[in-house]
Subunit: 218 residues, 2 copies
């Protein structure tokens, strides 16, 4: 039996670890979990005892195969619920994350597999993130941030790194959605802002925006 809190720690470790293959350190987890390092230490000991994580004192933590399975399963549920909320219940993409944080912990194999079928087996969530299958496998799409895109090239918007409501609403108000075609017109060396063209109108976005928007060359 796995508790809701354990699931959230496992998810946090998974997300922190998926960038490099290095171990995840205590303070990083504490920050994501909005808790204190001492609490994290207690929890990773417990996860280690339950074989969800490998842990040696002062050496950071990694997930075991079992831990990774738990993580991808929660992510699968989270993203499927997000699709449901947007596609069926008319939520906008900036409203779904918080609710999905709760729905992802509902434990029913049948529920999630029937939901998957009801949604016609979506491959991506409303933020462009891939949805793992029952075994935890999912495609990695090749994508770069707008910050690293080439001037003169044409891209398609395929995802976001920041899923905060304020960022997503900013994109809405600038007519940027998943699938939107963007041409990079100019990079300003002074503040790293970028001028882009969307549907024949030009806008300038800050470096901050550019770093959080994922593109794919077309």
């Amino acid at each position: 039996m796995i508790t809701l809190t354990e699931e959230n720690y496992i998810k946090a470790i998974y997300h922190l670890g998926s960038n490099g293959e290095k171990t995840v350190n205590t303070n990083a987890i504490a920050e994501v979990m909005q808790t204190k390092a001492s609490s994290v230490t207690d929890m990773i000991k417990k996860l280690s005892e339950k074989n969800y994580a490998d842990y040696k004192k002062y050496q950071g933590v990694t997930l075991t195969k079992e831990g990774r399975f738990v993580a991808t399963n929660i992510i699968r549920k989270h993203r499927l619920w997000e699709v449901f909320l947007v596609e069926k219940l008319n939520f906008s993409w900036d409203e779904v994350h918080e609710v999905a944080e709760h729905l992802e912990h509902i434990k029913s194999e049948k529920l999630i597999n029937q939901l998957d079928a009801f949604l016609e087996f979506p491959k991506y969530d409303p933020h462009g993130d891939p949805i793992p299958d029952k075994e935890g496998n999912f495609q990695h799409i090749e994508k770069i941030t707008l910050a690293k895109a080439e001037v003169g090239s044409v891209y398609k918007c395929v995802g976001v790194d920041d899923t905060s409501s304020s960022f997503l609403k900013y994109l809405d108000s600038n007519k940027i959605a998943l699938g939107t075609i963007i041409t990079v017109k100019h990079k300003e060396p002074y503040d790293n802002s970028i001028k882009i063209e969307i549907e024949s109108s030009e806008i300038v976005v800050s470096q901050n925006v550019a770093k959080n928007l994922y593109l794919k060359k077309v």
Copy 2:
């Protein structure tokens, strides 16, 4: 802020109290909650402090207006989710209760109101129980148990008291569903079993079954 456990206690008190207008006693709650009387005492003290319940030592407990609102709101969510599972995700009526026990605690006004709309504002759940509106109001349907039905009269099946999987599967296997027309043919005084006619075939059901099946005269 209300905890999941508090919500479940409030729901239990509501269900136990809705039969009579009397106070609900500690042991009854303990049995429903699968816990010990001492734990119940602690919790009803807490619910009383939070103004969800009125409580005097040794005198049993009743819900306040606020408590009843919490209760009907959870019941609204529980029953809407049950409808969703049956109507959209192809669950059968004996599979939904357990999952709904978890889904009913998801806290999002928008979620539940959009779900209500998506389901086209159903009035009853898959077991024939009425779905409260946002204010907690719902119609009481006049219904009697098969045990109290008159020999010779014709009834429509409108609900069940026992929502256990085994009882619902029993009904399935005997072609009894919500809306099924039933004619009462004979009451056996010896063991209170009842002979009924369904779609021109006759079956005999036990007193136990008869007490858990709700009917309405047609």
